[in-house]
């Protein structure tokens, strides 16, 4: 059967559609051909697939062929059987007849003969030529057709349809299509069944020796082909898949050693899309096919079907895995294949798949599929790129290939080609060898930027030199050691070809320049690397038939162009897929090439992408490889900002990635740029390099308004000291975010050591709140940098790239405004007036240091500080005070815990500087003050001894002292207070006449009330009497002397009795003599009090001295009240009650009680001056309020003074009072004697206003 392969191939090529046979019985074909062929392709056909499920096929191609056609006639029965798929799938019998008899006798037997073949699917088309107007003809035709139906239709199946040539019925065509499809379907089912049966039978013989794959293949492919013709591509594809599986099984069965193939010219180009690349009959091998060609053939068939099915994605998927698996297969047969055929084949296969699918891909697939599609394209490009690089490496372009991780990963783990014999150097290749030599020598091993020295990543799995020489057939074992020695001399290591020591180079050039070139290439000598390249290139030129690939390998420029194209293709496709990292990594390769060609702009862009990817995910090792390249691009492009930032990023990489020397180089670059003239000073983010944090421990606490110094820990990642011209930090208020950020600055330049530095920053007064650190900014040269990064008390962890969270720990707390200090008077009780007294002030710091504070004192009127004295300062011990409280004694004690501390202060310009020791403790300051009161103290009469005079005295004794304390670190805090200090006389005196003796002696009792919290001691007291009074017995006015000293305890009283009498003789005294109007009580006293308690002996007096104080009190002695000159009486009102608005007459009766001469002050005449005193808010006075009333000097004369007035307010009000200004009050007797009230009623209601008009 294998002999039929060629024929089979030919049949396949010619028949590509289903055949429908037309049995033209009545020569009707020419007239119906057009109509019938219009129905093709069949719009819609319901066919059964292999599993007998209905499948709707659209546009099914078919062809009508007359049975008389040579194509159908000239077939041998065996062929028909074998290639059944090309036989007609339906037979249309075209019949026309108008005569029933003719039909019965001639046509029917003939038709029976035609349709008797059971194998055929047939149906009859009865063509009626009758014109519709020709009734007879129509009638006849109908009769014949009816007869035809009776004869050929069965119950199961109608096999007849009628076509009217004149006026075709639309239903006919539907019927016609249906019948054709039905026939095709039936035929298809039957044939599929047949083929399956045959295949099954053959499969059963699989393990027998008679098994022949070719036969199996013909059957299987026939079935597949039939399905393909019937547009059942899915089934067809399945057949090919099964065929492939079966083939692989066949191939892999051990036993026969078959030829692999792939040795013919052009085999290096993959035939993945060319099923007809080689005729099958050429690749037949015994009972099977050569693997190399046949598998490609099968794949090509599959791809064709997949394209028909519209599945380019599947093409790529299958394509990629096919290439991979086929590449492995090629590797197995590598020793028989031409040199590097495998690599070349993969390259062409990848490119073929890419070009075929990218053009057919419509891009309308689901996004997932689309991404997958691009990913596979990327894979294909990538695979192609790797193989291409491998070829280029072999022919010596390796020196120009970037030794990046990407390339190293792809190439260094990829084994070398394993030809049975490594290609030898062709003859007459010395020029080429020299050229290669030159290429190697000229290739300047690209220095890494910043003088970074790294061992370059390998691109070869093992030394090419060694591999090539090892595989040379002629190399003996002994030469191997020689080879190793040679390598050592070379100093080449793994990358042997890269660095030739000068001596080797010299020796080689000498060798080549010598005439005996051929002998130098003797078989026993190992090849040099340049020779290896030349040999490989030569071998490749024999292998490669693709002119494009040859061209790409012909020169370095062409290579780089192709390399770029492939890399870009891979990167672009990966970018469209899920595999972004692959794409970005390849971008790095593009960038390297761009850089090499001076296209720095593009290179920088690509490098940036790569760096962003690596940095973003923290792959610092990879980043350290790329970042210097980016920096170099930026440097060349004069992108200072980018360059600086790259340098900073380089510095901030992990410590182990760069040597100290390299890191110093980075820093030098930064510093150099920072101090250079920059056109546009750029801000630089050094977050990764300089980090900062507050000091550990509690935050700095400041009081409101206080400046402070904030220590901040700054971690420098620079390898060396770096000088910062300035440094500032922002503070953010965590409570009040709308306030924005405050910047605090450190004024002076700092030198940051590598590692931890503590920097102190001045904090100006801040608003209350708690503050966290914000951003660190500063300047290095002209460079402004910022850092947002917080370290957590340790050096920045570089791998912790995601921790950019803000620290919540505040570094500064500014407290809400509060009282920081309190100054109060130490003593609440009164001090002595007009004496030098110690005024105590308690200065109490409230958790706040008063260091360096200054107290200004401004005394109010009537108070002065005696500056001649020093000021005492003591510690105010609260604990002691408490103890004292327990003893119910309000004493403030001093303790002497600070014996060496100054206790004496001086006041300068009204200011006192508090000593340092007093900065944290409460202290008491004692000032010598002097309160001045010019007024003389007056004694109060016991009669009117209410509290009011005394109170009056209290107010009089009040003095104020304004204090201003400037404190805080910068005396920025100010405390102001005005303190009231109470001064008083030592005592006040009340007098009363204790007794009035019959002999006119008055016992005047002077009661002395102590007003101070101190024990008073009266040493002496005497009374200087006013005129009109004399001491009894003309004494000096002293009480009994033995009475003194009289001790008066605090708040107690003592009394002294004076005996006086009214001096009647005084009237006779000289009128001109200055008359003493008041009596004076002189008191000589001493005071023994504690200044911490209140009044005490004046400071001028030495403690313990017996100096006495002197105090005078004026005593108004009144003449006896029973001896008035004039009596004033208030005359009751005539009416019962007063009303507001009612005029009334106020009347006073004035009566002279004595003769005028007794009155010393009356000037003359018989009249008296009066004055009515009324509150104008209460009373309206009508008439004069002051005047002279006539009053005779004679005793008993009387007069009445009337004033008309009107009360203005209701209630109990004080009536107007009549005063006699010319008379002494002592001479007036009033009735009623004191102030009194009268009742005023509200005005009567006036109803007249309420009458409605």
């Amino acid at each position: 059967m294998a002999n039929y392969l060629a024929q089979f191939q030919a049949i396949k090529n010619t028949s590509d559609r289903l055949v429908v046979a037309v049995e033209d019985v009545s020569d009707l074909w020419p007239s119906v051909k057009e109509g019938l062929e219009k129905r093709l392709p069949l719009k819609k056909a319901s066919l059964n697939n292999k599993t007998r499920n209905p499948v709707y096929v659209e546009n099914l191609q078919a062809e009508f062929i007359l049975t008389t056609d040579s194509r159908l006639r000239s077939r041998f029965p065996q062929e028909q059987y074998l290639f059944w798929f090309r036989e007609p799938y339906a037979t249309i019998v075209l019949v026309s007849c108008e005569d029933l008899d003719e039909f019965k006798t001639i046509l029917k037997p003939r038709l029976k003969l035609i349709v008797q073949n059971e194998e055929r699917e047939w149906f009859i088309v009865f063509v009626s030529k009758a014109h519709p107007n020709n009734d007879q003809a129509t009638k006849n035709a109908k009769k014949v057709y009816a007869r035809l139906e009776v004869d050929f239709n069965t119950r199961k199946r109608e096999r007849c349809c009628k076509l009217d040539l004149n006026g075709v019925d639309a239903s006919f065509w539907e019927d016609f299509d249906f019948k054709i499809v039905e026939s095709i379907r039936n035929t298809l089912d039957r044939r599929a069944q047949f083929y399956e049966e045959e295949i099954r039978k053959m499969s059963e013989q699989r393990l027998m020796p008679v098994w022949n794959f070719c036969n199996f293949f013909i059957l299987k492919e026939s079935l597949a082909f039939m399905f393909e013709m019937a547009h059942l591509h899915e089934d067809s594809l399945r057949e090919y898949d099964e065929l492939e599986l079966c083939y692989i099984e066949t191939v892999s069965t051990p036993g026969k050693q078959r030829d692999f193939g792939g040795l013919e010219h052009g085999d290096d180009q993959a035939a993945l899309l060319k099923p007809g690349f080689k005729p099958l009959s050429q690749i037949v091998q015994d009972d099977s096919f050569r693997e190399f060609e046949f598998r490609q053939y099968l794949f090509a068939r599959q791809v064709k079907l997949l394209f028909r099915l519209g599945r380019p994605l599947e093409v790529v998927m299958r394509g990629y895995s096919f290439i991979i698996s086929f590449s492995k297969t090629l590797a197995l047969h590598e020793n028989t294949l031409p040199f590097c055929l495998r690599e070349v084949w993969v390259i062409s296969a990848c490119l073929a798949i890419i070009s075929s699918t990218s053009s057919t891909y419509d891009g309308l697939a689901a996004p997932d599929n689309e991404k997958e599609f691009y990913r596979l394209h990327g894979d294909l490009y990538s695979l192609c790129r790797i193989k291409f690089m491998r070829l280029a490496y072999l022919i010596g372009y390796g020196v120009e290939i970037e030794k990046s991780p990407v390339n190293s990963a792809s190439l260094s783990m990829l084994p070398w080609p394993k030809p049975s014999i490594w290609p030898a150097v062709p003859e007459d290749a010395s020029a080429k060898v020299l050229a290669k030599e030159k290429l190697i020598l000229q290739a300047n091993p690209r220095m890494k930027h910043f003088n970074i020295q790294r061992k370059q990543l390998p691109l070869e799995p093992s030394s090419l030199l060694r591999e090539a020489n090892r595989r040379r057939a002629s190399l003996s074992v002994g030469n191997l050691s020689e080879l190793i020695d040679y390598r050592q001399i070379d100093g080449s290591g793994i990358d042997g070809h890269q660095k030739f020591s000068p001596s080797t180079t010299n020796s080689m050039s000498r060798t080549y320049s010598g005439p005996n070139l051929e002998s130098s290439l003797s078989l026993d000598r190992p090849m040099r690397i340049s020779e290896v390249h030349v040999a490989a290139e030569h071998a490749l030129e024999n292998t490669v038939t693709d002119p494009d690939l040859l061209k790409s390998l012909s020169s370095l420029e062409e290579f780089e162009q192709k390399y770029m194209e492939l890399t870009k293709g891979a990167a672009d496709n990966y970018h469209h897929s899920w595999w972004k990292r692959h794409g970005v990594a390849l971008d790095g390769e593009i960038a390297a090439l761009c850089f090499k060609h001076g296209n720095y702009d593009l290179a920088a862009k690509s490098y940036e992408k790569v760096c962003a990817l690596y940095a973003g995910e923290g792959w610092q090792d990879l980043l350290a490889e790329v970042l210097p390249n980016l920096a170099e691009c930026q440097k060349i492009l004069n992108d200072q900002a980018g360059y600086l930032s790259s340098c900073v990023r380089l510095l901030s990489l992990e410590d182990g990635l760069f040597l100290a020397k390299e890191r110093q180089a980075f820093q030098l670059e930064v510093v150099r740029l920072a101090h250079s003239e920059m056109k546009h000073p750029v801000p630089l983010d050094v977050s990764s390099l300089i980090t900062f944090s507050g000091n550990p421990g509690p935050p700095l606490q400041l009081c409101d308004g206080d400046p402070g110094t904030l220590p901040v820990t700054v971690w420098s990642g620079f390898p060396d000291d770096i000088t910062l011209e300035s440094l500032s930090l922002t503070l953010t208020n965590t409570l009040n975010t709308d306030e924005g950020v405050k910047t605090i600055k450190s004024s002076d330049a700092h030198i940051l050591k590598p590692g931890r530095n503590v920097i102190k920053l001045d904090v100006p007064p801040q608003k209350p709140g708690s503050y966290v650190l914000g951003v660190l900014t500063g300047q290095i040269g002209n460079l402004r940098f910022r850092s947002h990064n917080f370290s957590k008390g340790g050096p920045q962890d570089n791998d912790d790239f995601m921790s950019y969270e803000k620290p919540t720990r505040p570094v500064l707390k500014v407290l809400k405004p509060r009282t920081l200090v309190d100054i109060s008077a130490a003593v609440s009780s009164a001090l002595l007036m007009n004496e030098l007294q110690w005024l105590g002030l308690i200065v109490k710091p409230i958790d706040y240091s008063l260091k360096g504070s200054l107290l200004s004192i401004d005394t109010g009127p009537g108070l002065m500080i005696d500056e001649s004295h020093t000021i005492d300062i003591n510690e105010y011990a609260k604990t002691m005070e408490d103890k004292v409280h327990a003893h119910d004694s309000n004493t403030i004690t001093e303790n002497n815990t600070h014996p060496l501390e100054p206790k004496q202060l001086y006041i300068e310009n009204g200011k006192i500087a508090l000593p340092d020791w007093a900065s944290d403790t409460s202290t008491t300051l004692w000032f010598p003050v002097h309160a001045i009161d010019d007024r003389m103290a007056r004694a109060a009469s016991a009669v009117s001894c209410a509290d009011s005079p005394h109170r009056q005295n209290m107010v009089d004794g009040m003095r104020t002292i304004a204090l201003k304390l400037e404190f805080g670190a910068f005396r920025n805090q100010i405390f102001e207070r005005t303190i009231a200090v109470h001064f008083t006389d030592p005592f006040y005196v009340t007098t009363r006449v204790a007794n009035k003796c019959n002999d006119g002696t008055l016992l005047l009792q002077a009661t002395i009330h102590s007003q101070v919290k101190a024990t008073l001691c009266l040493y002496d007291a005497w009374l200087d009497l006013q005129a009109g009074f004399v001491h009894v017995r003309k004494e000096n006015g002293r009480p009994v002397s033995s009475f003194f000293p009289l001790v008066i305890s605090p708040s107690s009283t003592a009394g002294i009795l004076f005996s006086i009498c009214i001096d009647n003789m005084a009237i006779a005294a000289d009128q001109n003599e200055v008359v003493q109007a008041e009596s004076i009580l002189n008191v000589m006293y001493g005071i023994s009090g504690d200044r911490s308690n209140g009044a005490h002996s004046p400071t001028s007096l030495k403690l313990g001295s017996s100096d006495k104080l002197f105090f005078k009190v004026a005593i108004a002695l009144q003449r006896p009240i029973l001896d008035p000159c004039i009596a004033v009486g208030f005359v009751p009102f005539s009416s019962n009650c007063l009303r507001v608005g009612q005029l009334i007459n106020m009347k006073w009766r004035v009566e002279r009680l004595k003769d005028l001469e007794a009155s010393p002050s009356s000037s003359c005449k018989d009249e008296v001056l009066y004055e009515v005193d009324a509150n104008p808010e209460i009373w309206m006075i009508a008439g004069r309020t002051m005047g002279h009333a006539l009053l005779s000097n004679a005793r008993g004369s009387r007069t009445e003074i009337t004033v008309t007035c009107m009360p203005l307010v209701s209630g109990h009000v004080r009536p107007p009072q009549l005063g006699l200004p010319a008379m002494d009050d002592a001479n007036i007797s009033c009735n009623p004697p004191g102030p009194h009230l009268v009742c005023v009623l509200p005005p009567t209601l006036s109803s007249s206003y309420c009458i409605p008009a």
Binding site: L383, V406, A409, S412, L414, L457, W578, A585, E617, D621
Partner: protein, 143 residues
């Protein structure tokens, strides 16, 4: 032969990478591991596509190339374990069992109270243990 084992954090940051090639070429393995994350990402983000259900930690073969293979394993905390092997014929069960041991070693290492989660693993004991696991790994060793 196992060329490299790696632990990658849930944010795709490298936590541990140890090369066993003996040569000074760890960088290329960094690249391979890093690129393999693409495959893991794809599998995790497109559970429909992935062959292996995500209920299982073992991700299987991620990255078949001609010269090496990358296998992956994803923990519940999205920590990825990767193995690059140059041995092209490895049984799935062996790799699975290897990953289980590797994962256990990792869990022990990060359970160290002095280890900061998300930081690189610098424990020498972990490194020694991993080396031990790698050394013990030979196809067919584990059932």
């Amino acid at each position: 032969m196992i060329a490299c084992v790696a632990v990658v954090g849930h944010q795709n940051n490298p936590l541990y990478l140890q090369s066993f090639t003996g040569a000074d070429d760890a960088l290329k393995l960094h690249h391979i591991v890093h690129c393999s994350l693409d495959v893991i990402d794809e599998r995790v983000n497109n559970p429909k596509r992935s062959v292996i259900t995500l209920n299982e930690s073992y991700l299987g073969l991620l990255y078949p190339t001609e010269s090496y293979k990358v296998y992956g394993y994803l923990s519940n905390t999205k920590v990825k374990f990767l193995v690059v092997t140059t041995d092209l014929d490895v049984k799935d069960t062996d790799i699975r069992s290897f990953f289980r041991r590797f994962h256990a070693a990792y869990v022990d290492a990060v359970s160290n109270p002095f280890h900061v989660p998300g930081k690189k693993i610098i424990s020498r004991i972990f490194a020694a243990r991993v080396s031990g696991i790698v050394k013990a790994f030979a196809p067919g060793t584990y059932g």
